[in-house]
Subunit: 349 residues, 2 copies
């Protein structure tokens, strides 16, 4: 009989939390128990899971004592606040926040890219930033064949990247503008409907925003190339769900475009979307709800003999967050990397 | 008494045509007559100009005989069909279509960049592609100080770049989606509301679309650098008006970012929009209706010691088309480059 595991979702009510619930069911994760944790204000509510309506508990000091895996998606401060309790309880925390991503003792894992990194965990594994994950899934298969030397990325990021309320804000503002009214920004600093603006995360002294630096630093860590040259411009666009990216790659030597297409056509987590006749390439409306990162428009860069251009769209809530976290959990199961699983786990009473 | 000129607008009823009317009035262009030309189906209609309602005439063989300047914005096939008649009539055609842009005998002019090119005209001057103009206005002032070696651009292009009907399609689709209905693509091949997709112009054998090749080839011609290395990814976004671009620049040597900021702060046609404290940078909703190309987020490229990153938004109907054409007309006036103006021009009877 295969082992099964007790999983807790910390931040069960958020966009990623509910997607985690969907994925655990869809992928038949070997559960012996599922605990939904959230802030006190959500406690007592219930969320559907398979044929049940699971209660939400307020997170508390003993909440992790009977848990093997914690999927945390309640933001950096919540992850930081509970990490020690989770680790002390013997559970593994798969953390969707940015809190521990750059911690050298914490593996930062995209299962299609660096599954081997998970083995070194000391109780916490970090789930990378959504924009980073999508780009890494598309670029790493090429990098394996011929090292990438420099990446210039421009993103087209959907509203739901800033949460469910931001997605509502986009809809409300769009309706207001269509009615001839002025849009009222609340979540975003600027109107998002029928507009685009550079990603509004905090800017560093060099003028890069946090989102851009995540793409730079996390990719370096995941690829294991600390000095990989990466620059990015992250931009919000009025799309409800799924991020897109224009990615310019420079390699050590020319990369045959047909070979690149073949590699990406077989790469794990990638779906090639390239119909040159009908001008049909990856689009966020088609990436939404899909597991795969849609990749296409693979071109020889005409400005650089060792360059390639590609275009991708991926569901940032799914592969960019919840799916990647569940895949990490599956990896832990497959490789027997769940700490408390060393003791036999009984099905929840 | 200053000379004045007889101007015809060919394609007066289009988005660019009506903007031309607005600009000729706004900028007090020295008119001695203004003739509105369009296809037979618009003939007889009137368009407001200053305090008048000017009649629209169907274009015909003798339509240009009493005209000094033709501002053509009715598409490539119309421009090609009438160019000979216009030139034979002694008028100068400022053509907004792509028909003659790459013709070596036709100057391709952005007045802030290469005004000197206009002097060599033989009756036709081409107005560049909108995306090209916006980028050129922002990049050329830097290129003058230190030659740019390579440009990697990603565009965020509004619906109105595909015409007024495409803009309506965006609004209609947005309303449909907000009502829970499926969007119906008619002008664009894919839904544009709450979506993005690579620019749907024809693709060449290398996988570059026409819009991208315009940025490449036209910039080379305007800058006078036939082998300038440029790559671009052009993308439609659900914005009503004004295009944005993420532009990565590589120079012959390091370019001090403060110097770049100073140069662009004083560059003709550029308005610096950079409030790092409030994360306020160029946005299409603020660029709409403005003459200037809004430029900001000027950063040292952290992936390249000789690189800079910048972000821009500009009104593609105004500076990207109609304004640039009127500026070319003004340049012809200032430099006495209007052919029939060699004879005294009398005010229209």
């Amino acid at each position: 009989m295969p082992q099964s595991y007790r999983v807790a979702i910390l931040g069960a009510t958020g966009a990623v939390g509910t997607e985690l619930l969907t994925l655990l069911a869809e992928r038949s994760f070997p559960l012996s128990g599922l605990k939904l944790l959230a802030s006190a204000k959500s406690a007592g509510q219930r969320l559907p899971f398979q044929d049940e309506a699971l209660p939400i508990e307020a997170v508390h000091d003993q909440a992790f004592d009977d848990v093997d895996i914690v999927l945390a998606s309640a933001g950096g401060s919540v992850s930081k606040a509970w990490a020690t309790k989770i680790v002390e309880a013997g559970a593994v925390m798969i953390d969707n926040s940015s809190a521990f991503r750059m911690d050298p003792t914490v593996p930062l894992v995209v299962p299609e890219v660096n599954p081997e990194a998970a083995a070194a965990h000391q109780g916490i594994i970090a789930n990378p930033n959504c924009t980073t994950i999508l780009m890494n899934v598309a670029v790493y298969p090429l990098h394996q064949v011929q090292p990438v030397r420099r990446i210039v990325a421009a993103s087209y990021q959907s509203s739901s990247g800033a949460g469910a309320r931001a997605m509502e804000e986009l809809k409300n503002q769009a309706q207001a503008i269509l009615n001839g009214q002025a849009p009222r920004p609340e979540i975003f600093p600027h109107p998002i409907a029928f507009n685009v603006f550079p990603h509004n995360s905090a800017l560093n002294d060099l003028g890069y925003c946090e989102e851009e630096m995540k793409m730079v630093n996390e990719t370096r860590k995941i690829f294991g190339v600390p000095d990989l040259r990466i620059t990015a411009t992250c931009v919000r666009v009025p799309v409800l769900r799924a991020h897109s990216e224009a990615v310019n790659l420079d390699f050590d030597a020319p990369f045959d475009v047909e070979q690149a297409r073949e590699i990406l056509g077989q790469a794990p987590g990638v779906k090639l979307v390239e119909d040159w006749k009908t001008n049909h390439f990856p689009m966020p409306i088609e990436a939404s709800g899909q597991d795969a990162v849609l990749v296409g428009r693979i071109r020889q860069d005409i400005s650089n003999p060792t360059g390639l251009e590609l275009w991708l769209s991926g569901d940032q809530i799914r592969k960019g967050a919840a799916l990647n976290a569940v895949q990490i959990a599956e990896l832990l199961v497959q490789q027997n990397l769940i700490r408390s699983a060393k003791q036999p786990v009984s099905v929840q009473a």
